[in-house]
Subunit: 114 residues, 2 copies
Amino acid sequence: MSKATIEMDKASAILKLLGDKTRLTMMKLLDKHDCCVCEFVEIFKTSQPSISQHIRKLRDLGLIKEERRGQWIFYSMNKSHEHYPFVQEILKHLPNQDDKLRELEEQGTRITCC
Amino acid sequence: MSKATIEMDKASAILKLLGDKTRLTMMKLLDKHDCCVCEFVEIFKTSQPSISQHIRKLRDLGLIKEERRGQWIFYSMNKSHEHYPFVQEILKHLPNQDDKLRELEEQGTRITCC
DNA sequence: TAATTATATAATGATTTGCTTATATGAACA
DNA sequence: TGTTCATATAAGCAAATCATTATATAATTA
């Protein structure tokens, strides 16, 4: 029997995390691309600890996965999360954020770092 | 031309409001029923000012409408809000909350008040 | 093995949030 | 017209949030 609905506690916790512009943009990006911390630092023009803390919240809820590749740690959407369909539905309504990654590529920042 | 996506600022602001269990439940209820403040006070077992403040936030973003009916002020979903489809999509994933209103009816609280 | 790079965690502080109590407003009714 | 009822607003406070700086950890490279 498939899970049609989410408990209210779970739903509000997820929405709370997505209710921050930085995290919401991260999630939109992660839905299509794996990213590492240094890329987010570049994109959001903020400190590395700040990014790490946003990531931790998303990871604590299991929404994203972590994978070390050598020196770097890559994050990706956890598409097998119980409530990924819910998250995906939300992300679908948001404008594509790929321009942010394209900027990095143009700067060479993407390649340099990861 | 229909608006397919929401600006990130707008989306995160909406999600932030929905990221609170009380407001999320209110919205789920309001999607099907008009309610007045006193009903919410009963349902959420909290103070009237607390409910009023949650309502104000939802109203400030234009997500709900206010209508005075004599002594009472009724709130309802603003279904013509630019981003109502987005909100509705989210609410669709949540469990029905009608039992909360049914309880009020059984207590007589719903009828008494409104 | 020492220095560097990428990231996480800890500690701190300013801001925001969400509640509470107290008070104001506005309609209804006796 | 004064009292009551429903709601809003104001003020105050504790807890949560989000950034920052400082430090720790773990892999890489010289």
